[in-house]
Symmetry: C2
Subunit: 159 residues, 2 copies
């Protein structure tokens, strides 16, 4: 469905999906097939932070497990039972639960949908310049340059 121009309010199910599925290079891009992001904050012209409605198909993951240097993140579960992975281990989530990921702690997180049902959640993150993403489980690192993520191997060589 086309999004209205400058809406006053919308039902989140009316928000169109983001056309670019991921910024990850291969082989990582293929690992997040099954994740669909619907930008919500952008529809209202918000720039200081982003809000997405994100769907995880059965067995999809939200992202590579990662930590941000400057960006705080927050999630609120609307539907389904994703598994949150952090440095502390695995935590089962359910609708009405929320979690926050403080920038700069180095504690890496992602969500996995290990169920046969769809997962739906809201995700919020600010857009602090100079943010970096670190990935303890994978040979990739990320730097936010002028609003765009640049990915390299951990030794700095490009993908």
């Amino acid at each position: 469905m086309a999004s209205p121009i400058n809406p006053i309010a919308i039902h989140v199910t009316e928000a169109p999906p983001r056309t670019k599925l991921t910024n990850y290079p291969e082989p990582f891009a293929s690992r997040i097939a099954g994740r669909e992001k619907h930008p919500l904050g952008d529809l209202f012209g918000l720039t200081n932070f982003g809000v997405n409605l994100t769907r995880l198909a059965p067995h999809a993951i939200s992202a590579l497990r990662h930590a941000h240097s400057k960006q705080d993140e927050f999630i609120y579960i609307l539907k389904g039972n994703p598994t949150l992975q952090t440095d502390e281990g695995r935590t089962q989530l359910s609708p009405g639960m929320c979690a926050g990921f403080k920038a700069g702690t180095g504690n890496a997180h992602n969500l996995i949908n290990e169920t046969s049902e769809e997962v739906l959640y809201l995700e919020i993150g600010d857009r602090t310049p100079g943010d970096e993403g670190t990935y303890p489980d994978d040979d990739i690192q990320a730097l936010l340059v002028e609003g765009k993520w640049q990915f390299t191997h951990k030794d700095g060589t490009p993908y």
Copy 2:
């Protein structure tokens, strides 16, 4: 219920209410009796933006109708049917609907619960320094100084 220390995740109904009900001076403070905010982002140590679970009792309002100079705001309705008031007029909201309020537009907003049922929503706002609040319907203005709101009459005299 006491909040856990550094939780990995919580159900939002476990989040304790904010002890200070409002920063407004009288006679405005009394007008938002019936509004209860439960900070969520703070529980996880987030500082770049705030996330609250907010309850509006029947006939309560979310805030004086206001606009921010620097803070973007976003709401997501979890329960109930609040009325959103903006410069464009009144919009009826329902669960699953969201709205965003871009900083610097001057378009002022608030929510009113005109029903006999509780309203529950998530609100997100960033914490950009130097933010100012303007109130088209009331003799009050606000300035964020070192993370605290300072309120004066529109002619600058203090309350």
